[in-house]
């Protein structure tokens, strides 16, 4: 596809670099269906219903699938589970082991986390009870704090809010959420190391920033400006998209908030420069400063990079190969491989 506008560049970037690969999505689709079936069989009469929740359901995961949230609604005719949230988690643990791909199970506060053989994503089985008024209660067990209770929650409300915002923005909200998460994930390769912002905070800040249809570059600018505004405040201020009386940043500690603010303030001048650039090709090059070498732009064209590699003038900038002379000079190795007979 020939790219002549910034919007086209963003769409190409989202399609090729940001969106979760089809192969992973297909695997997840199969796994979640099989897992829910196995759990239903294992639970027997305890099982009432199950549904997908979280960012997998909202389609807002970026680059790779991390986890699949599967909410299992339980029947509790005798009130036995209502009296024991930890009992509900133990029930989930037992049921999880009946699925052949489950290799390792760990009980967390709200769910049992299940590692799956041959997959880098995992599944969280979340036990839930009907609250009798059409809502749900989710288990919460924190042994260190001595908390064991059922808490009201509305996992379907977050999905509905996401879908409504996506419709209100003519389909910009979901892909731009992924793009903003892509930036948020660019600081570490380790899933257990902290990203600048919790993932759902990114979604909520963008949700709060967008009100109607817009170009994706404007949406990204709106995200960073709104992030700076919220992160500058020393109190919770980002409303939960699914329940506006709750704040997503309620548990965001000050040190993390300030670190995230510093990252946002560092990148914001580059975002403003890119969004305000009127020449589309210069704008694309400016977005490379924000999103890295996988953003389609004149300076990241494969032909240009190939020429620089041939001439040994290519350098490494950040985590990608660049035609810039100011990057790191790589060791001039000769790639190699085995002889066909050695394989």
């Amino acid at each position: 596809m020939s790219i002549s506008t910034v919007q086209q560049a963003f769409e190409e970037f989202e399609r090729t670099s940001v969106r979760v690969a089809d192969v992973e999505n297909r695997a997840a689709k199969r796994v979640q269906a099989e897992f829910r079936e196995a759990v239903q069989k294992a639970l027997g009469a305890w099982y009432a219903d199950s549904f997908l929740a979280g960012s997998y359901r909202r389609k807002t995961q970026a680059v790779h699938l991390k986890d699949l949230d599967i909410v299992i609604v339980l029947n509790d005719p005798t009130g036995e589970l209502r009296a024991s949230p930890s009992g509900a988690l133990a029930l989930m643990k037992g049921a999880a082991h009946t699925y052949s791909l489950v290799r390792h199970v760990e009980v967390k506060c709200r769910a049992v986390e299940c590692e799956l053989d041959g997959h880098s994503f995992w599944a969280d089985l979340v036990p839930a009870l009907q609250d009798g008024r059409g809502g749900l209660l989710l288990a919460y067990v924190d042994r260190k704090e001595g908390i064991e209770e059922w808490r009201p929650a509305d996992p379907k409300g977050q999905v509905a809010a996401c879908q409504a915002k996506n419709a209100a923005t003519d389909g910009a909200y979901v892909p731009v959420t992924r793009i903003c998460k892509f930036w948020n994930q660019s600081f570490t390769s380790s899933p257990s190391q902290e990203k600048p912002m919790p993932s759902y905070l990114v979604e909520a800040i963008l949700h709060d920033a967008l009100s109607g249809s817009c170009d994706w570059s404007d949406a990204v600018l709106a995200f960073f400006e709104n992030a700076e505004r919220h992160l500058s405040l020393p109190y919770p201020s980002v409303p939960c998209p699914g329940k506006s009386t709750d704040y997503v940043d309620e548990k965001l500690e000050d040190p993390r908030r300030l670190k995230a603010l510093a990252k946002v303030q560092t990148v914001l001048p580059y975002v403003r420069a890119a969004a305000n650039e009127t020449d589309p090709y210069k704008a694309m090059d400016a977005w490379v400063f924000v999103f890295g070498q996988s953003f389609p732009a004149p300076s990241t064209k494969p032909g240009l990079i190939a020429k620089a590699l041939r001439n040994r003038t290519a350098t490494v900038v950040g985590t990608g190969v660049s035609v810039s002379s100011s990057g790191r000079q790589p060791i001039p190795v000769r790639s190699h491989g085995p002889a066909p007979t050695e394989s």
Binding site: T16, S17, V18, A21, V63, H64, R103, H104, E115, G118, H119, S120, W122, F182, S186, F187, T188, S189, S190, P191, S192, Q193, G292, Q293, S294, T300, P302, I305, A306, K307, L309, R310, R312, A314, V316, G318, T319, G320, V321, R328, Q329, P330, I331, P332, V333, R334, S335, H336, G337, P338, A339, P340, T341, E342, S343
Partner: protein, 187 residues
């Protein structure tokens, strides 16, 4: 200042969740908690790829292996074991010819950043090779081949003198100070 914040030491739990790393350990008959592995990111036309550098031995004595966990796996320069019977289809990048002179190989003095940068160049070469059928950087013929001629002028200085200090090899003792066989035996 860290030049690459994406480099991270992998924990056993993280390695267990990466099928390619788990398979590597199984092939090498190494338990995950005995494996030293780091991850980093690479941005290419194929998108954001996760790279994992695995050290099967001490970096001064054993070459590391770098795995690319994402993107297309068929390449001109990847190491076995190959998947689906397709030559060149695997996760293990064949970064350099180990018989080449020192200036064309990774050594511990270059640190993890130097290693991941070679891998980033490698996966960018792969992306272009898949599009155009040409490997843009220099490459060596497959299998046993003649090493490249020595060109010390190509040597890239280590990025930080600290790297050199951290990985400095012990200097060889003068003959007079070396332990004799008798002393060795006594020790």
């Amino acid at each position: 200042m860290r030049l690459d914040s994406t480099i991270a030491l992998l924990t056993v739990r993280e390695m267990r969740r990466l099928p390619d790393v788990a398979a590597y350990a199984e092939r090498a008959r190494v338990r995950l908690w005995d494996l030293l592995a780091y991850s980093a990111l690479a941005e290419t036309g194929d998108g954001r790829l996760r790279l994992v550098a695995v050290f099967p031995g001490h970096p001064d004595t054993a070459h590391p292996d770098v795995l690319c966990l994402d993107g297309p796996r068929t390449s001109k320069h990847r190491n076995p074991p190959f998947e689906d019977g397709v030559f060149g289809k695997s996760a293990t990048l064949c970064l350099y010819y180990r018989q080449d002179p020192q200036e064309r190989r990774w050594t511990a003095e270059y640190g993890l950043l130097g290693l991941f940068d070679i891998a980033r160049v490698h996966v960018t070469n792969e992306y272009i090779w898949r599009r155009d059928g040409r490997w843009p950087s220099e490459d060596a013929p497959h299998g046993m081949t003649a090493p490249a001629r020595e060109e010390p002028s190509l040597a890239v200085p280590p990025l930080s003198p600290r790297n050199t200090i951290l990985h400095r090899r012990p200097s060889v003792l003068p003959a007079s100070e070396r332990p004799t066989t008798a002393r060795k035996a006594a020790a």
